[in-house]
Symmetry: C2
Subunit: 209 residues, 2 copies
DNA sequence: CATCATTTAAAACAACTGTTTGGTTTTGCC
DNA sequence: GGCAAAACCAAACAGTTGTTTTAAATGATG
């Protein structure tokens, strides 16, 4: 088994199991056995469990933020002012696109993002902020420009409301979809849900008062 | 030390520690030592760690849902139609009121609610749904009545958007508030944040399209 | 005061955790 | 083909986990 193979098998297994159960609820033995590699391989290749967790996030956040930067560059270059709806659908489509392209499951990453926010893992928060804080600030800045006249504190609270609605809903997408399918017989795709989320979140950001 | 004293000391400590770190990250030894009771007391009084977790939720969800029922009864009895804003501010005020009255920290319960949604604890989800599902459905029904003409599937997705925005934001209230205070020097109370949340969430629920 | 169930205490339990060790196999390169 | 470096493996390590056991203390009741 080649090195890159072992490393990516570990990352694949860890990504799935972390998203399902959380970090502390997933042992290295579960990861290595589902990956079909030796227990010691994690510490050999990544150093520690903490660093494995960070590597899982790095593997999907780096291509995502790069694709987002490209998309934002493209839109800014047109010279046309960016609306709130433009920005939201941009970031959602980039999120889906940059993952589907690699044959990965977008909902899983929403679950991981949700975990990063809610779980008790100080090192992970620090890692993400230091590594991807610039991307976040650029997007937030463009969004603020699309909402002139809104005072900064109100804007930032609403930005968190929007983040909460997005991450929370999409990280539980499968569960919510199953409930609605049972109660109304109506299937919802991730794409459709994002199309519902864009106008709803935009209205929340734009409302006066 | 009397029995009720020991029981409530355990619940107090567990509530704080669970909200801070999560369930698996909090050991029974940490709980019992901060509570100043013996380790075996948890298994003696509650049976298991799972049942302790459920007891923590029961202790704050039961008074909350009871107070909510009283408040909804009161508002329905006036005969006036309930607006979305009415319902949201009702539930927020009841949440704060029913807790502050008991000298408990409202943000802690938002954190616990967030954990109940995001953590990998199937038994807790089942416990909450079976115990408090009726309260949830009544509130959702009244909210749907306040939004006539909205198709059910769209309504429920937006309800989840709203839940996500609320739980996610308020469970991280301290962290977000600290960031905004540092960046803008503006302090935000929980009360003020709820007053921002009501119109924002209402706009999200009511928007056309 | 004696009796009995309730409650606490300390210790031990078996299972599981992340990590390290020492040795073996495989790989890439001269 | 030989050799050093990288990769892998099984085993053991030390520490923590939830839970149970055994014995001592407590407190109410006759």
């Amino acid at each position: 088994m080649s090195q890159t193979d072992t490393v990516s098998r570990i990352l694949d297994a860890a990504e799935i199991l972390f998203a399902e159960r959380g970090f502390t609820e997933t042992s290295l033995r579960t990861i290595t056995s589902t990956a079909g590699v030796n227990l010691a391989a994690v510490n050999y290749h990544f150093g520690s469990k903490k660093e494995l967790i960070q590597a899982v996030f790095e593997r999907f956040l780096t291509p995502f933020t790069q694709a987002l930067a490209v998309e934002l560059d493209r839109r800014v270059a047109t010279g046309e002012p960016l609306t709130v709806e433009d920005l939201l659908s941009s970031i959602y489509q980039v999120a889906i696109g940059s993952l589907v392209k690699r044959g990965r499951d977008p909902q899983r990453f929403m679950r991981l993002l949700g975990l990063a926010y809610t779980q008790y893992q100080g090192h992970l928060r620090r890692f993400i902020v230091s590594r991807y804080g610039d991307s976040y600030r650029r997007f937030a800045g463009l969004l603020a420009q699309a909402l002139p006249g809104l005072d900064p504190v109100t804007f930032y609270w609403r930005l968190y409301f929007m983040l909460g609605a997005t991450i929370f809903t999409l990280s539980s997408f499968d569960a919510i979809e199953a409930i609605l399918r049972e109660d109304f017989g109506a299937e919802s795709s991730l794409q459709e849900t994002l199309e519902r989320l864009v106008p709803a979140a935009s209205a929340m950001l734009k409302v006066n008062g």
